[in-house]
Amino acid sequence: MMRPRKWIDPTWMLAPTLILLVVFFIAPVGIAIYQSLFSWDLLTPPKPVGGANYIALLKSGELFWVTGRTLLFSAMVVSGAMSLGLSLALLLNRRGLWFSFVRSAVFSAYVVSWVAVALLWLWILDPDRGIVAKALHLAGVGSVKLLNHPDTVLPVLAGVTVWKITGYAMIMFLTGLQAIPNEVVEAARLDGAGALSRFRFIIWPMLRPTATFVGTTSLVISFQAFDVVRVMTQGGPVRASTLFVYAIYESIFMNLRVGTASALTVVFFVVLLSLSWLQIRMWRQKA
């Protein structure tokens, strides 16, 4: 092994990355863990409370409801984005200008910022002037306030998220589909497999690693949903759309409970860490 002449040389070279990592990642996590052991309202000096913040979260059921809600939201987003992305990939896996235009159009939603997407859908769903309201009105259905009802708000937010990330899922599935040799599909045709059998026995088994990857990444994306909630519902009505990251935001910037927020952050960190670990493990299996 080659040894550096001066110990300072490699340190210099690593410094930019190292500084970024410490300032924006390691230090915040450390601070969050530390602060989760205090009760602090940003105004008076912090008081050490030990694990009281965690216990309070568990006792109040807050943690249970936020986690459950987020998991439900994730389930809708992951299943929606995957099935829609796969269907679009199967439909659009063709040559020609028209198909490449539609592919780009679908993918373009993924490139737009979350806030812009949220605002766009806020307008579309506006109960007075939105397109959806107009359409419902024309169809004879009275005004439906999709974002103002606890039963509909979460599916609607999930729908918006699916709308945005389906392009990503589609591109991933297209890559997977194009990696399947044409010969294999042709052999299946000659072997007597119709379109459905070809998908079930040949294409889907070969797409499974891709599906695993798309599934885990969109799970992580959906777990981190914040902008959509912040812009479209602010967690309401009656907290029905308070997802994990928004709950953290709410408790620190609205309720000024830094300790509770930090405790939530630590739990969230652990959850995401395990999700990422799962993802990396599946990725390795794929390789």
């Binding site: 040799p181 010969e183 294999v184 042709e186 052999a187 299946a188 045709r189 000659l190 072997d191 007597g192 497999a193 059998s197 026995f201 040949i202 088994p205 070969m206 499974r208």
Partner: protein, 349 residues
């Protein structure tokens, strides 16, 4: 009645409006093994794919027996195909791969198993049945692909360059096996290859294709000894036939450095001579050795005579060296004559 009959096939490719097949007609008798050879892009694979039903012809008819199958989907044509890349299903075991066509045709499990076992024994892959394709060597994969074709017991086998991904030794071994197997099963086969050795050794008849046209369709021996066109003459044979520009003057054909008496038509524009028919002699036309390729059993000798470069083949190692003077004296009987379209011209008896 031929088992397979292709009549006037035309295939356009949308890209650049290029004609892949101009007018391809081919009859294959039942039990016959036909090789389609030609350079890349000559249309041989396209012909096979149209017969399989994987592509549609823009014009022309495809008959299997007396049934026109242009509109019959590929799985109902009773044709099995072996692909160049083997096209095995990577997520299935060998057994599952081989039984897949039977499963799709709703053959009962015990019968399917029996047919897979029979085919596996025939191909000597009985010990591989529980492996997956990525655990097999190239030769083993090709056997499995063959097995998947055999279990269906199809009327016609199609092979699309099945050996071109394998190394030379394995190719030689497998080409013998494939030809024997197909004959043993008594089935009709069309075999696409760019390897002339495969075509010569395996086929009952060879169709040589060039630029979307069948240039010649005859037995390997006839194709070699009496090539129908100058292209066929140049394509088959290694080293290639010496092809020389020629002109007819009275009763003489002049093709520098040769001139010989000729009793045929005066339309001769090219003359060909196989390297093995261009013997070295003590007298005759003087030539200079400019290159030697010793291959062991034979040596390819490149000579220059009257500004013309010729290749000839001698047995064993040549005793000549580069720069040596030699003499050529080919027999006029060995010359092949072609007209300005490249078509063969026969001498009048």
């Amino acid at each position: 009645m031929p088992e397979v009959s292709l009549q006037g096939l035309v295939k356009k490719f949308t890209l650049g409006n290029h004609l892949a097949l101009k007018d391809v007609s081919l009859d294959v008798e039942a039990g016959e093994f036909v090789a389609l050879v030609g350079p890349s892009g000559c249309g041989k694979s396209t012909t096979l794919r149209i017969l399989a039903g994987l592509e549609e012809a823009d014009a022309g008819d495809i008959f299997l027996g007396d049934v026109r199958v242009n509109d019959v989907p590929p799985d109902q044509r009773d044709i099995a195909m072996v692909f160049q890349g083997y096209a095995l299903y990577p997520t299935m075991t060998v057994r599952e791969n081989m039984s897949f066509p039977l499963r799709m045709r709703k053959v009962k499990a015990p019968e399917a198993e029996e047919r897979v076992d029979t085919a596996a024994t025939l191909l000597k892959i009985g010990n591989l049945l529980d492996r997956r394709p990525h655990q097999l060597s190239g030769g083993e994969r090709q056997r499995v692909a063959m097995g998947r074709a055999i279990v269906r017991n199809p009327r016609v086998f199609l092979f699309d360059e099945p050996l071109s991904n394998l190394d030379a030794a394995l190719r030689t071994e497998l080409r013998v096996e494939i030809a024997e197997l197909v004959r043993k099963l008594g089935r009709t086969a069309l075999y696409v290859t760019h390897d002339q050795a495969e075509a010569m050794t395996m086929a009952d008849r060879i169709a040589v294709m060039h630029q979307g046209v069948v240039q010649s369709y005859a037995s390997p021996r006839d194709t070699y000894e009496r090539p129908a066109t100058a292209f066929v003459a140049g394509f088959l044979g290694n080293p290639r036939m010496n092809l020389l520009d020629a002109s007819v003057q009275g009763r003489m054909v002049r093709a520098s450095p040769f001139a010989f008496e000729w009793s045929g038509a005066d339309t001769v524009r090219k003359v060909g001579l196989r390297p093995e028919e261009l013997g070295l002699a003590d007298r005759g036309i003087e030539a200079k050795v400019i290159g030697l390729e010793p291959l062991g059993a034979e040596t390819h000798v490149r000579v220059e005579a009257n500004g013309q470069i010729l290749v000839l083949r001698v047995r064993g190692f040549a005793k000549h060296r580069v720069g040596d003077k030699v003499h050529l004296s080919p027999s006029p009987a060995h010359f092949h004559a072609f007209d300005e379209n490249g078509d063969r011209v026969e001498e009048r008896a």
